[in-house]
Symmetry: C2
Amino acid sequence: MKIGDLAAKTGVAPRLLRYYEEVGILHPFRSSNGYRTYGEPAIDRVLQIRELLESGFTTEMIREVLPCLEAAKEETEAPACPAVKDLDGLRRQLSSIERRIDVLQRNRHAIETYLRAWEDAMAATPTAADGVPVPVSE
Amino acid sequence: MKIGDLAAKTGVAPRLLRYYEEVGILHPFRSSNGYRTYGEPAIDRVLQIRELLESGFTTEMIREVLPCLEAAKEETEAPACPAVKDLDGLRRQLSSIERRIDVLQRNRHAIETYLRAWEDAMAATPTAADGVPVPVSE
DNA sequence: CTAAACCTTTCCATTAATGTGAAGGTCAAG
DNA sequence: CTTGACCTTCACATTAATGGAAAGGTTTAG
């Protein structure tokens, strides 16, 4: 698969696929003409990368955790050794992720509460066309 | 409270406090000499901003949700009206947050699994000083 | 064979968040 | 009144992620 094909299948611009290689999170082969060549697994890997980037990971964090995320997918009982180099780094990543889940959950809850209050108010109150409740004089 | 005090109490550089004002997520008063003046609530607000930034929010997202997060804290039954301008934007933020929680949880789980497998392997296997399991010939 | 549609590398631009320094105003302590 | 520690604005630098164009090689279709 050439870079354009992978771009088409993932919706990620060729420019970015080259960038991901540059920062060491994607490792295409090269065919004799110098063209990058990707296998099928690259599709999932790129989608995974996008997902992580959109969730606020940096490419550096991704470089650390991606090998282990992929190793975790293989049903091998004994862990393969890709990320062995820094087990502690991995633990730090893990607690960073946990902190962020926590923040996200707290804020999700606050927004839900706020939205629900608003929706209740909308249901109980005459509203103008723009959805803003009309003040009720009493 | 002047900018240096707030910086000291939050651990956030004055430069950044000015930046947060510039992008509209922090709103100090000005005293007659032109100095920025912050009240006590600014401390929590700044800490909240840091937390959100570190969890991958942009200042733009923060500008959208912060008023409502603060409104949600007040126990007022009827929602105050700060973020009224874009209730739909808020719903989009909410589902974006939910997507991200999802991604984070999936990856937390994968990393936990991987780490646990590694720890088990370490416990069951002779290890060298650097913590890397020694291959056992059989 | 040629033109279109790929691919390559290189370099420059942009946005967000942040760091840093210059040039100058304010204020409190000595 | 002067000095030092603040504060102000303005401007430029940097890093990460991304966009884009230039100049040139390859491949495929006609």
